[in-house]
C-alpha cells in the first residue's frame, strides 16, 4: 500500500514558500486545518494567495495570517467576522476577490475535476458578472466561470488512513473534499490517523488519490464562533 504519512505539520508544510496559492478548508472556524495553520505561522512566509470560504476571526484561523501580514490576496465568499481583515482591505494592504459561495465551491470542484469552465446563474445582473461571458440556456441567463487551482490544498478530516482516504465529521466537511482534489499537492491533517483497512471503503468521503501527505494533528481547539444553546 502507498503510505503518505509525514511525521508532523512542520514536515508537511516544509516546502510551502512565499507567493504560493493555498486552498484552506473550513466554513467559519469549523473544519479548518489548525495544525497546518500553526506550522505555517512559524514559517513566516509572505505574499500568499488564499482560497478559503471565510477569513477566520481576528485571533484564530486565517485571521492569524492576516495579523502577521502573510496574505497578499483572499479569495472568499464571506469575510464578515474579521476586523483586521476589514482594516487591511480599506487601507489597500490586501486584495480581495469575493465570489458567491456556490460558485466558489463549484469552481474548486471544477479545478479538481478537469473542467476548465462552466455556466452558473449566480451573479447575473450583479457586479459579479462584470467582464464575464453571459449566455442564455432555456430562457435563463448564466455566467461563464472558470476552474480554481492551488499549489497546495490544506484540508482537515476526522479520520484518515495512511493511504490518504478521508472521512469528515458533520458540517466540518464543507469545502474540504473539493479542495483536496484541486490542490497540486494536498496535505490532509486528521484527528485520528488509522492503518489501511480500518475505514469502510464504501463510506470514504475523499479517496486517497487526492492526498499527497497526511498526518495526525494534535490539540484541536475547534473554537466556536456562535455558541448558541437552547434552554
Amino acid at each position: 500500500m502507498i503510505d503518505k504519512t509525514v511525521k508532523s505539520a512542520e514536515d508537511a508544510v516544509a516546502d510551502i514558500q512565499d507567493g504560493v496559492t493555498l486552498m484552506m478548508g473550513g466554513f467559519g472556524l469549523s473544519g479548518i486545518p489548525e495544525n497546518c495553520i500553526a506550522a505555517l505561522l512559524k514559517k513566516q512566509i509572505r505574499n500568499l494567495t488564499i482560497v478559503s470560504n471565510n477569513a477566520g476571526v481576528d485571533d484564530f484561523g486565517i485571521g492569524l495570517f492576516l495579523k502577521q501580514g502573510m496574505v497578499k490576496k483572499m479569495i472568499s465568499s464571506y469575510v464578515g467576522e474579521n476586523e483586521e481583515f476589514e482594516r487591511q482591505l480599506l487601507q489597500g494592504e490586501l486584495e480581495v476577490e469575493l465570489i458567491p459561495q456556490g460558485t466558489l465551491a463549484e469552481r474548486i470542484r471544477a479545478g479538481g475535476a478537469g473542467i476548465p469552465a462552466f455556466f452558473t446563474p449566480a451573479g447575473v445582473g450583479t457586479e459579479v458578472a462584470e467582464g464575464k461571458e453571459i449566455r442564455e440556456f432555456n430562457g435563463k441567463l448564466y455566467l461563464l466561470e472558470h476552474a480554481l487551482h492551488a499549489d497546495f490544498a490544506l484540508v482537515k478530516a476526522w479520520k484518515g488512513d495512511t493511504a490518504g482516504n478521508l472521512i469528515f465529521k458533520g458540517t466540518a466537511r464543507n469545502f474540504n473534499p473539493m479542495m483536496a482534489a484541486a490542490g497540486k499537492i494536498t496535505i490532509a491533517e486528521v484527528e485520528e490517523l488509522v492503518p489501511v483497512g480500518s475505514l469502510d471503503p464504501n463510506l470514504i468521503h475523499t479517496p486517497g488519490i487526492y492526498i499527497q501527505r497526511i498526518f495526525q494533528g494534535d490539540r484541536y481547539e475547534k473554537r466556536i464562533e456562535q455558541r448558541t444553546v437552547s434552554v
Partner: protein, 219 residues
C-alpha cells in the same frame, strides 16, 4: 406594525407540507419557530446539512455541527450531511423549494440588494447570490423602511444587487406584497391597524392596490 417575531410568524404561513427550505440569517431564522406542527418540512443549511434541528443543550454542543450563521445546532433523525459543492448543487439545481432571506432593498421588478454597502460594508455575499439565482420561490423578510425612514421598496435598487427579478413575495412590518409580473408591488395584506394610505406613503416603488386589502390573520 409587526414585530420581527410577527413577520416570521406571517412568513411561516407560506410554508407548505413537504418543502425543503433555506432560511437566511436574522428574521428568516425565526421562521423555524412558527412552522405549524402538522407540516413536515426540512431545513437546509448551505454549509452542508439537510434537517437542521434546534439549538443544542449546553452539554450537546458540537463544534463540528454549525449552521450557515456559524451557530451551533443539532441534527434530526432524517438529517444528511454533505459538502459545499453538493449543497449548492442542491440549491442551483432547484431542489430547494423555498428560500427566505433578508434584504436591504427590493425593487418593483423583484431585484434584491442585501450584501454590500459601497465604502462601508465589505463582508461578502456568502451564498445569497446562488440562492436568489436558483430558488423557485423567494420570500423576503424585512422592515418596510430603513431606520432613517427611507422606503426599502424602490423603483430600482440603489445598492449593489444580489440578484435580479427573483423575489416573489415580501413580508414587512407593514404589509405582505407580491411582485407583479410586469413590475410593481401588489399589496396583498396589511398589518393590523395599518392603512393602505400609510403603506402607499412608505413605498417608493409602484404600489398596486387591487380592491379591498385584507388585514393579516394570525391564528
Amino acid at each position: 406594525m409587526l414585530t420581527k417575531e410577527q413577520i416570521a410568524k406571517r412568513i411561516a404561513q407560506e410554508v407548505e407540507n413537504g418543502q425543503y427550505i433555506n432560511l437566511g440569517i436574522g428574521i428568516p431564522t425565526l421562521v423555524a419557530n412558527y412552522i405549524p406542527a402538522h407540516l413536515e418540512v426540512v431545513l437546509q443549511s448551505e454549509n452542508g446539512l439537510l434537517g437542521v434541528g434546534p439549538f443544542p443543550k449546553e452539554t450537546e454542543v458540537d463544534p463540528d455541527l454549525i449552521n450557515a450563521g456559524k451557530q451551533t445546532i443539532t441534527m434530526l433523525p432524517d438529517s444528511a450531511i454533505f459538502d459545499s459543492a453538493q449543497s449548492f448543487a442542491m440549491i442551483r439545481g432547484g431542489h430547494v423549494h423555498l428560500t427566505i432571506l433578508g434584504a436591504m432593498e427590493v425593487s418593483e421588478k423583484g431585484d434584491i440588494a442585501n450584501w454590500k454597502i459601497p465604502g462601508k460594508m465589505v463582508k461578502g455575499m456568502g451564498g445569497a447570490m446562488d440562492l436568489v439565482a436558483s430558488a423557485k420561490n423567494i420570500i423576503v423578510a424585512m422592515q418596510h423602511c430603513s431606520k432613517d425612514g427611507q422606503s426599502k421598496l424602490l423603483p430600482t435598487c440603489s445598492l449593489p444587487l444580489t440578484g435580479i427579478r427573483c423575489v416573489k413575495k415580501i413580508v414587512t412590518d407593514l404589509a405582505v406584497l407580491e411582485i407583479a409580473p410586469n413590475g410593481g408591488f401588489i399589496l396583498k395584506e396589511r398589518a393590523p391597524q395599518v392603512s393602505v394610505a400609510e403603506i402607499k406613503s412608505k413605498t417608493a416603488g409602484k404600489l398596486i392596490v387591487l380592491g379591498e386589502v385584507p388585514e393579516m390573520q394570525f391564528n
